[in-house]
Symmetry: C2
Subunit: 351 residues, 2 copies
Amino acid sequence: MNKIEIACLPGDGVGIEVMASAKQVLQKAADMHGGVQFSMTDFPWGSDHYIETGAMMPEDGIERLKEFDAVFLGAVGNPAVVPDHISLWGMLIKIRRELELSLNVRPARLIKGIQSPLRSPKDFDLIVVRENSEGEYSEAGGVIHNGQNEIAVQNGIFTRKATERAMRYAFELARTRGKKVTSATKSNGIVHSMPFWDRVFQETAKDYPDIETSSAHIDALSAFFVTKPESFDVIVASNLFGDILTDIGSAVMGSIGIAPSANLNVEGTYPSMFEPVHGSAPDIAGQGKANPIGQIWTAKMMLDHLGYTDLGQAILDATEEVTESGIKTADIQGTSSTEEVTQAILSTLQK
Amino acid sequence: MNKIEIACLPGDGVGIEVMASAKQVLQKAADMHGGVQFSMTDFPWGSDHYIETGAMMPEDGIERLKEFDAVFLGAVGNPAVVPDHISLWGMLIKIRRELELSLNVRPARLIKGIQSPLRSPKDFDLIVVRENSEGEYSEAGGVIHNGQNEIAVQNGIFTRKATERAMRYAFELARTRGKKVTSATKSNGIVHSMPFWDRVFQETAKDYPDIETSSAHIDALSAFFVTKPESFDVIVASNLFGDILTDIGSAVMGSIGIAPSANLNVEGTYPSMFEPVHGSAPDIAGQGKANPIGQIWTAKMMLDHLGYTDLGQAILDATEEVTESGIKTADIQGTSSTEEVTQAILSTLQK
Ligand SMILES: CC(C)[C@H](C(=O)O)[C@@H](O)C(=O)O
Ligand SMILES: CC(C)[C@H](C(=O)O)[C@@H](O)C(=O)O
């Protein structure tokens, strides 16, 4: 029997609720398979931990996570009690950086039974490969305080290594899919980092003559995610551009509550981390209303990564069967609770 | 009789076609008014000028523009013959910078007869106030060339002066409208410039206790432009964020071909410049297919700025009457040519 060690970090707010759902689904998937066991260890880190200890996670937290095969995260942040920059940089971004999770892979597609806000959406199925370690989210910079003459400087840092790594991953991924890669740029307005990005894209593309390439400026590309999402296959984007595009992708799918993501350590030096795109949603936390599908679809991405693609597929199929039957939370025009959706997925999986 | 001097810069591609339309509309508006004359001087600057002379506009171009009451621009760029960074930074961005057009004001709303790609759009009516002089579009930065260790650095520069100027304009504008200002931020990921932006927003807001304020991260805000554009009134955004939001706004209105913008010199030291949001669209240039509404609505914004708000309103009303009657270009599900739409607007104005 294969034993897979999963670190579960429910985090804050709805993270706790949707984590509970997804763990049940993972457990059921393992039971169905018979040959694998998911050993899930909970770490109650997050804003409450911060209030008790002054830190979002213990000092040896990252070291402890490194012992696992994968990290499964709910959501981080409770701005009413901990400022966002402390909670996010003390846990979510800290894990992304210190486990060297250099890519954030986020699919967007139509799911049966979930209505897109678009009038007549074509059947899109795209994946954004987001650079996850640097770029616009760099800590370099500062503010020169001088009253009315204050100046803030924010340094975006783009390395060849990280840029090319994201692009190569996108090209390899496109080979397994629609064989198209679109690069998100803004070299007409951002004149150092983005022309560099374009050049690395052109150079890297030479190694993938079988892949069709294109570039689009982030303004136009954001609009295209609304007007013609079906024209994309794999999109490679910087940290900020990937962040923006994937929220638009979620909106166009029908709810941010369903969107999954994988934060990958592509070198395999440390475990990868899996988290839904949505946040901790303090406004609906604790009410049993949260959509568990983002976390469950994220579990599927984790299973794919761990090599259990058949189980991942079974989970997504069961989920679509449930949404198609109309058992849905309020964010996707349903009336069911987190628990009802979870139970429906569990019993569909059983079949 | 008041004489208003307008510098017309058709530029490239469809810019030339839609400029011809909008000039006719301006002429007709002046005839209707009786008390004003628009003296329109053409400057054939752009990519052809670059091919002939090596520059997008003559050396004294900016000085010549300063003599006018307003600058009316079509679109800039013909990437097949002039690289984008040369054409845009040699003309569009050059004008924005050298005429000190520190704000880019871009409305988005539903227009009668133009179908939004949204399934059930509520009647939204928002204005993005985009900082137009600095921020992410700074020329500071560079690339350290060192083979596989290459690093590109892009410095975003945010001054108190420009940041506060954009925000004050947004607050003043909100006072004339829905009394709400939303600040586009990303301080949870971009840790120097965006917390600075947030702080200036909070400080500036104190002077406008009558205005309701909120902040939203650019990823979520981009999604909200799709899921609930009706919840916004005035949005204040950095150069890059404003760029992205206004393209999404155009998409949600139904076509980038209809979106207008005003590049304002708020101090009144130099003329302001008015240009549609769309580009030169080389793919459809010269075919008589371009949608003239973006340029015509831009003419309305110029008239508003020059103090002829009644004429501006007449133009927009005539345009909506025409779109409602179904006389529309292909980008908004019509079959009419640029010329047919223009003629229809002219004869509606006549009435
Ligand atoms: C062409 C480009 C430099 C420009 C910008 O980013 O400002 C355009 O997208 C716009 O919005 O006017
Ligand atoms: C919470 C925030 C820092 C984060 C990001 O911008 O990366 C989130 O928006 C995401 O997309 O995972």
